[in-house]
C-alpha cells in the first residue's frame, strides 16, 4: 500500500499513483523561490503556460490555440482557448495572461524573471486574444514562455502562492505534508483531456536507497529521478519493473574559473579536456548512463551537433599541452557541491588530472548555501562540477558576469545574432557558438545527465526525455 | 531506667546445653587456589553466646557468611555446617533451601549499619518483609509485629515510617537487629555489630543484642576484634588467626590464661591499662590472605617459634576448649 495517500478511488474513477522524487520544494511559490522542484511538481499540472514544449523539444500550443509573429519579429499575437477555468472558479481570459506577464516584471524576485525584460507591452485585445510586443526581436522569449516564466495565474488567485496555488491545469493542489509529500488531485473541470489518475502523490526522498526501497516494497509506483544509477540493476533484472532512459537538459559541467591566470591559457583548458577519459568517467560515476556531449547543447535542442571529437581523450597530448602552457605541477582547487554526481565525478576528475601532471585538491562545499556563496557568487574557486539543468542555457552560463567568468566577445556576438534572427539563422548561429565554446574549452562537459525513471511495468505515458521544467502527470495511465 | 537483668549473671553456670544449635566441622573457604579459611570446627549450643575474635583478615566474616551461604560469588566453602532442626547440610545447599533457613532459623546483623538497609524503602516495610517472606505473620499482623520489635529495641514508633537515611547509625543498627530478631531465629550471628558505633551507643546495642538472644534463648555467634567487648558479651570464645581457629575456651580462661602465643600477644597489645607508656607489641604485620606461612600460621611473628612450628600444630584439648600451638604459654609443650 502507499504511504500517506489514503487508499480507495475517488468518484471520478481511476486509481491513485505515487511518484518518488528526490528534491522536495522549499515552498510552492516559484515566483520568489528558485529551484527545480516547484515547477517539476506544479508546472503543466497545476499551472499551464500559453505554449509548451513537446517531448522532442518543439514549441506547441497549450493555453494558446495558435500564435502569429509579426514580420519584424517583435509582435506576438496569441489565440487563447475559451474554456479554461482556474481552480478558484474564474474563467481564464487574456487579461489574466496580461496580468501574469506583467506580474513577472513587478512581483517576481527570482533571477529568471529577466527573460521577461524584453517585453515592452502586453495587451488583451479580446478575452481570447492576447498581443505581446517585444522591445527587440527575441527567439528566446517565446521559448522562455514555455518555462515557469510563462505560467498563467489568476488575477484573484495570487494571494497565497506559497501554500495555495491556483492554476488552470489538469490537477488541483490538494495537500502538502511537509517533509514528506505533495498530493495533487484531478481537476474535474479541466478544459482539456482529463487525467487518468484521480490522485497523484509526489513523495520526496532524500536518500537514493530509501527511494529504491520504496519502489521495491510498492510504497511508490514510479521513481521519477534515479539518483543511484548503479542500483538500477535490481530493477532491470526484475520483470515487475520498467526502466525508462532518455535525455535531459542537465549538462554536467566541469567549470573553470576563467578569470584565474592558469585558465587564461587556452592550452591548459584544452589539456584538461583531453586528460579526462569521458567514457570511463561516465561508466564509473554514473554507471554508464547518460550521454557524452562535446559542448553545452543537449540533443533535444535544434542546433545539437556531436562535438565530442573536438577534444578526444589523449593523455600524452594533454601532458605536453600542460608542459607548454606551464600549468603542469600546479595545484587546482576543485570545489565540489555536496551532490552525488559531483562527489562521484570529482574523484575521477582528480585522478585523471593528476595523471596528466596537475595537482587537484578537492573541497566539498555544502550545497546549496555554501557552494552558492563561495563558488557561484564570489567565484572563489578554480574548478567546480555542477549540472546546469536550465534549458538553452549556453549563453547564460558562459559570460563574464557568470561564475565561469568567461569573457568572449565573439561568442556573445554569435548569441545575439541567433536570438534576433529567424529560426534558420538561430540554428546556424547557435551551432557556431557551441562549436566555439568547445574549441575554446571554456569548460568541460563531462556528460549529459540521463532521464532515468523506473516504474511498475504497467504504467504508461512516462516521458522519455525530461527536457522541460515540468513533469507532465496528466498523460500517465495504467 | 530500671532494667537490670538479674539472670544475665547466669554466666558461671555449668554447661548443661540440651543440644547444639550450630555444628560446624572442617569448614574451609577458598577463592580459586587460595585458601582463606581452613578447617574450622565450631559448635554453638542453644542459648549459648560464643565469640569469634581475631584481627582484620583472619577470616571471621567469611566463616559467618559461609554458615549463611552468602559468600561472594567466586568464593567456595567446603566441609560441613549443620543446624539443629534443619534436615540438610548447609554447605552447598541450593538457594531455595537456604533461603528458607536464612532469616528464620539463622539471622545475621552486619557490621555497617549505614549500608545494610535499603535506602529507598521505609524501615517498617523492611522489617515486615522479613516476616512476610517466611509467612510467620500475615500482612496486617506483620506491621504490628514490626512496631512491637521496634519498641523492643527502644526505637519510637515513628521509626516505622522513616527512611534509613533519617536515622543515626545507632538507630539503624537497632533496626537491623530488630530485623534479625523478627522471626525468633535459633541462631543469631553478629559480625562486628558495633565497630562503627560510639561507645555509648555500642553499650546500648550490645545490651539489646544480649537481651534479644536471652529472651528467645537463641544461640549467639558474636564476631568482633575487640577483646573487651567479647569478654562482656560472651561466655565462650574462639580466637582466629590466618583463617584458622588457634584457640578456644571459656572467656575467663582464654583471657586470663591464654595458651596460644598469638592470644597471648593480642592480650598484651590491647592492654592499655599497663603501667607503661610503651605497649607490648606483636612483631611484624598480619600477612595478606594466602601469604600465611605453612605449619603454624603464627610462626613468622612468634618469638617462641622453632623448627617444629613448620609443622601444623595439632589441636590440643576439647573442641570447645583447646588450642593449636607447639609451644603454648604456661609450659606443657604439645
Amino acid at each position: 500500500g502507499s504511504g500517506t495517500s489514503s487508499g480507495g478511488s475517488s468518484p471520478g474513477g481511476g486509481q491513485d499513483l505515487s511518484i518518488g522524487l528526490v528534491a522536495e520544494p522549499a515552498s510552492l511559490d516559484f515566483t520568489t523561490t528558485d529551484g527545480a522542484a516547484i515547477p517539476q511538481a506544479l508546472l503543466g499540472n497545476v499551472y499551464e503556460t500559453l505554449v509548451k514544449q513537446d517531448d522532442s523539444g518543439k514549441i506547441v500550443p497549450s493555453l494558446a490555440k495558435s500564435w502569429t509573429v509579426s514580420a519584424d519579429r517583435k509582435t506576438y499575437t496569441f489565440d487563447l482557448v475559451d474554456n479554461a477555468k482556474f481552480t478558484n472558479g474564474k474563467q481564464f481570459t487574456a487579461s489574466d495572461a496580461v496580468f501574469s506577464i506583467n506580474r513577472v516584471k513587478t512581483a517576481w524576485t527570482i533571477s529568471l524573471k529577466s527573460a521577461m525584460d524584453v517585453v515592452s507591452a502586453a495587451t488583451a485585445v479580446s478575452p481570447t486574444k492576447l498581443q505581446v510586443t517585444l522591445a527587440k526581436p527575441s527567439n528566446d522569449w517565446l521559448f522562455r514562455m514555455t518555462t515557469r516564466i510563462g505560467a498563467m495565474f489568476s488575477e484573484t488567485g495570487v494571494s497565497a502562492l506559497a501554500t495555495a496555488p491556483v492554476g488552470t491545469g489538469p490537477f488541483k493542489f490538494s495537500k502538502w505534508n511537509r517533509g514528506d509529500s505533495i498530493v495533487l488531485t484531478r481537476n474535474d473541470d479541466y478544459w482539456g483531456t482529463k487525467p487518468n489518475f484521480a490522485q497523484i502523490t509526489l513523495k520526496y526522498f532524500k536518500d537514493a536507497t530509501a527511494l529504491n526501497n520504496a519502489l521495491l516494497t510498492s510504497t511508490i509506483n514510479v521513481i521519477g529521478t534515479v539518483q543511484a544509477p548503479e542500483a538500477l540493476s535490481q530493477f532491470t533484472s526484475n520483470s515487475k519493473y520498467q526502466v525508462i532512459e532518455g535525455t535531459t537538459n542537465g549538462e554536467v559541467l566541469l567549470s573553470f574559473n576563467n578569470s584565474r591566470p592558469v585558465f587564461k591559457d587556452v592550452r591548459t583548458r584544452q589539456a584538461i579536456r583531453m586528460a579526462i577519459d569521458h567514457k570511463a568517467l561516465l561508466d564509473t560515476c554514473w554507471a554508464g548512463r547518460g550521454k557524452l556531449i562535446g559542448s553545452m547543447v543537449p540533443p533535444t535542442d535544434p542546433w545539437y551537433e556531436d562535438l565530442t571529437g573536438i577534444a578526444p581523450y589523449d593523455l600524452a597530448k594533454a601532458k605536453s599541452l600542460l608542459q607548454a602552457s606551464g600549468a603542469a605541477g600546479q595545484t587546482l582547487r576543485l570545489r565540489l557541491p555536496t551532490l552525488p554526481y559531483a562527489t562521484s565525478c570529482g574523484q575521477v576528475v582528480k585522478s585523471d588530472l593528476e595523471q596528466a601532471g596537475l595537482k587537484v585538491q578537492i573541497d566539498q562545499l555544502e550545497f546549496p548555501a555554501a557552494w552558492l556563496t563561495t563558488v557561484f557568487k564570489n567565484a572563489d574557486y578554480d574548478m567546480s562540477i555542477i549540472a546546469h539543468v536550465e534549458p538553452r542555457d549556453l549563453g547564460a552560463v558562459f559570460n563574464a558576469k557568470y561564475y565561469t567568468r568567461y569573457d568572449d566577445p565573439t561568442l556573445q556576438a554569435d548569441l545575439a545574432a541567433a536570438d534576433a534572427g529567424d529560426e534558420a539563422t538561430q540554428v546556424a548561429d547557435m551551432k557556431k557558438a557551441a562549436r566555439r565554446l568547445s574549441e575554446q574549452a571554456a569548460g568541460d562537459w563531462l556528460f549529459l545527465l540521463p532521464n532515468l525513471m523506473v516504474a511498475d511495468k504497467d504504467i504508461k505515458g512516462l516521458p522519455t526525455n525530461a527536457i522541460t521544467e515540468a513533469f507532465d502527470l496528466s498523460k500517465l495511465s495504467r | 531506667m530500671q532494667r537490670t537483668l538479674s539472670f544475665i549473671h547466669a554466666r558461671s553456670e555449668a554447661r548443661t546445653w540440651m543440644n547444639d544449635v550450630l555444628t560446624v566441622r572442617g569448614l574451609s573457604v577458598s577463592v580459586r587456589d587460595t585458601t582463606l579459611v581452613a578447617d574450622v570446627d565450631l559448635t554453638v549450643g542453644a542459648g549459648e553466646r560464643v565469640g569469634l575474635i581475631g584481627e582484620s583478615g583472619s577470616g571471621k566474616s567469611l566463616t559467618a557468611l559461609s554458615i549463611l551461604g552468602l559468600l561472594p560469588e567466586d568464593v567456595r566453602a567446603g566441609g560441613s555446617v549443620r543446624l539443629d532442626g534443619v534436615d540438610h547440610e548447609l554447605v552447598g545447599a541450593d538457594e531455595r533451601r537456604m533461603s528458607r533457613v536464612r532469616g528464620r532459623d539463622i539471622a545475621m546483623v552486619f557490621q555497617e549499619p549505614m549500608t545494610a538497609l535499603n535506602p529507598t524503602m521505609r524501615v517498617g516495610d523492611q522489617i515486615a518483609e522479613a516476616m512476610l517472606i517466611h509467612k510467620t505473620h500475615a500482612k496486617p499482623a506483620a506491621r504490628a509485629a514490626a512496631a512491637d520489635l521496634l519498641e523492643r529495641v527502644q526505637l519510637p514508633p515513628e521509626t516505622l515510617r522513616a527512611y534509613p537515611h533519617q536515622l543515626s547509625g545507632g538507630m539503624r543498627q537497632r533496626v537491623v537487629l530488630a530485623l534479625a530478631l523478627a522471626n525468633d531465629p535459633a541462631l543469631l550471628i553478629c559480625d562486628e555489630p558495633t565497630t562503627a558505633l560510639d561507645v555509648t551507643v555500642q553499650a546500648l546495642v550490645l545490651d539489646l543484642i544480649v537481651r534479644g538472644v536471652l529472651d528467645r534463648s537463641a544461640a549467639l555467634l558474636f564476631i568482633t576484634h575487640d577483646l573487651a567487648v567479647v569478654a562482656t558479651v560472651c561466655e565462650r570464645v574462639l580466637v582466629m588467626y590466618g583463617g584458622r581457629v588457634v584457640e578456644a575456651g571459656p572467656v575467663e580462661e582464654v583471657f586470663t590464661r591464654p595458651r596460644h602465643r598469638y592470644t597471648e600477644g593480642l592480650l598484651a597489645a590491647s592492654d592499655l591499662e599497663a603501667n607503661s607508656r610503651r605497649l607490648t607489641t606483636i612483631p611484624g604485620n598480619v600477612p595478606p590472605a594466602g601469604r600465611f606461612p605453612s605449619g603454624c600460621v603464627f610462626r613468622t611473628r612468634c618469638a617462641h617459634a622453632t623448627a617444629l612450628c613448620e609443622e601444623r600444630p595439632a589441636w590440643t584439648g576439647a573442641e570447645a576448649d583447646g588450642f593449636a600451638c607447639h609451644h603454648p604459654a604456661g609450659g606443657t609443650d604439645a
Binding site: G3, S27, T33, R178, T219, E366, A369 | M108, T115, L179
Partner: protein, 315 residues
C-alpha cells in the same frame, strides 16, 4: 521540595535566556545568505538585497534578536524565510513525529535493556551472562543507520512484512502508523538498548555489591527476589540519568534513522533548515531542542526525588 522546584525553575529560565543569545549568535555567524539561497542561482544582487530587507535581515542584530525573542515569548516562532509559512505549527508537527519515534525507540530500548542488563549483571561470571555482554557489545558497535538499512533489507524488501519507509500520522491510519513505526523504532531502540544495557548492567552490578542486598538475602529472599524488590529501584537512579541524556540527544540524533526511513521528523527539518539557510527556522528548532533538553533534565531531577527518598529535603 518546593524550594528545590523554585531553584530548578530559576536555573531553567536563566539557562533558557542564555541559550537564546547563544543560538542567535551562532546563526548570525553562519555563512551563506538566506536570501541568496532562496533566490537561487541567477539572482541579481539587487534582488537579494530587496529580499534581505523583506526578511528583516538588514536590521541591526540586536533588533533582530529582540524581535525574535519577543515573538517567542508570545508563542510566535515567526515565518519561514523560505517556505513563507508559520514555523510554529511546522515545528510542532515535526516534534510530534520525532517524539513518537524516539519514545517508541526508548521503549524498545528499555524492553531490551532492563532484562538483558540485569541478567548480564546477575550472571556476570557465567557463560550466559558473558554471551549476553558480547551481544550487547556488538549492538553498541553498529551504527543506527546501518541497523536500519539491514532491517529494511530483511523485513521490508526480502520478506515484505513491513513497509520499508514512510510515515502516517496515528490519527489518520493507526494500523499503518504502527506498521511504519516498527522498523525505525527497532533500529533506534536496539542500538540505544545496547548502550543502555551496559549502563543497566553496571548499575545492577553496583547494587549487587551493596550491603542491603546481602541483608535482604539474609532475611530469606532468593537472589532474584532480593534484586527485584530491593535492587531495581536503587539501580534505576543512574539509569534514569542515562535515559534522560539519551532522550535529549535522540531528538536530533534520530535524524539518521529519519533519513533511512524517510520520516519527516524534527532532525530532518533542522537539516533542511540549515541547508536552505532558513535561519529563523533553525533558531527555533534549536530553541525547541534546548527547551526539550532542559525539560528532560528537570523531569529527571524530579524522578530522582521520587526514586530516592534521600533527596527529599527533610529535617
Amino acid at each position: 521540595m518546593i524550594l528545590r522546584l523554585i531553584e530548578r525553575t530559576a536555573v531553567f529560565l536563566v539557562s533558557l535566556a542564555v541559550s537564546t543569545v547563544l543560538v542567535f549568535a551562532f546563526m548570525a555567524i553562519l555563512p551563506g545568505d538566506p536570501a541568496r539561497v532562496a533566490l537561487g542561482v541567477n539572482a541579481s544582487d539587487a534582488a537579494v538585497a530587496e529580499l534581505r530587507r523583506q526578511f528583516g535581515l538588514d536590521r541591526p542584530l540586536p533588533t533582530q534578536y529582540f524581535d525574535w525573542v519577543g515573538g517567542l515569548l508570545h508563542g510566535d516562532l515567526g515565518t519561514s524565510y523560505v517556505s513563507k509559512v508559520a514555523i510554529g505549527p511546522q515545528v510542532f508537527d515535526r516534534l510530534q513525529v520525532t517524539l513518537w519515534l524516539v519514545v517508541a525507540g526508548m521503549i524498545v530500548a528499555l524492553i531490551v535493556a532492563v532484562p538483558a542488563g540485569t541478567m548480564m549483571a546477575a550472571r556476570h561470571r557465567q557463560v550466559s551472562g558473558l554471551a549476553l555482554s558480547a551481544v550487547s557489545q556488538i549492538g553498541v558497535a553498529v551504527p543506527a543507520f546501518l541497523a536500519g538499512i539491514l532491517l529494511i533489507v530483511v523485513f521490508a524488501v526480502k520478506l515484505g512484512w513491513l513497509p520499508a519507509n514512510g510515515w502516517t500520522p496515528p490519527a489518520q491510519d493507526p494500523g499503518m502508523f504502527l506498521k511504519q513505526l516498527i522498523l525505525p523504532a527497532l533500529s533506534l531502540g536496539l542500538v540505544q538498548g545496547a548502550v543502555l544495557t551496559r549502563y543497566v548492567r553496571s548499575a545492577v552490578l553496583d547494587v549487587l555489591r551493596e550491603d542491603y542486598l546481602r541483608t535482604a538475602r539474609a532475611k530469606g529472599l532468593r537472589p532474584f527476589h532480593a534484586l527485584w524488590r530491593h535492587g531495581l529501584r536503587n539501580a534505576a537512579v543512574p539509569v534514569v540519568t542515562v535515559l534522560g541524556l539519551q532522550l535529549a540527544t535522540l531528538l536530533i540524533g534520530a535524524v539518521v534513522v529519519e533519513r533511512v526511513f524517510v520520516i519527516p521528523g524534527l532532525g530532518s527539518l533542522l537539516l533542511d533548515g540549515v541547508s536552505n539557510r532558513d535561519l529563523l527556522l533553525v533558531q527555533d528548532v534549536v530553541m525547541v531542542l534546548v527547551l526539550a533538553v532542559l525539560l528532560v533534565n528537570f523531569l529527571v531531577d524530579i524522578l530522582y526525588v521520587a526514586l530516592d527518598p534521600r533527596l527529599r529535603a527533610s529535617a
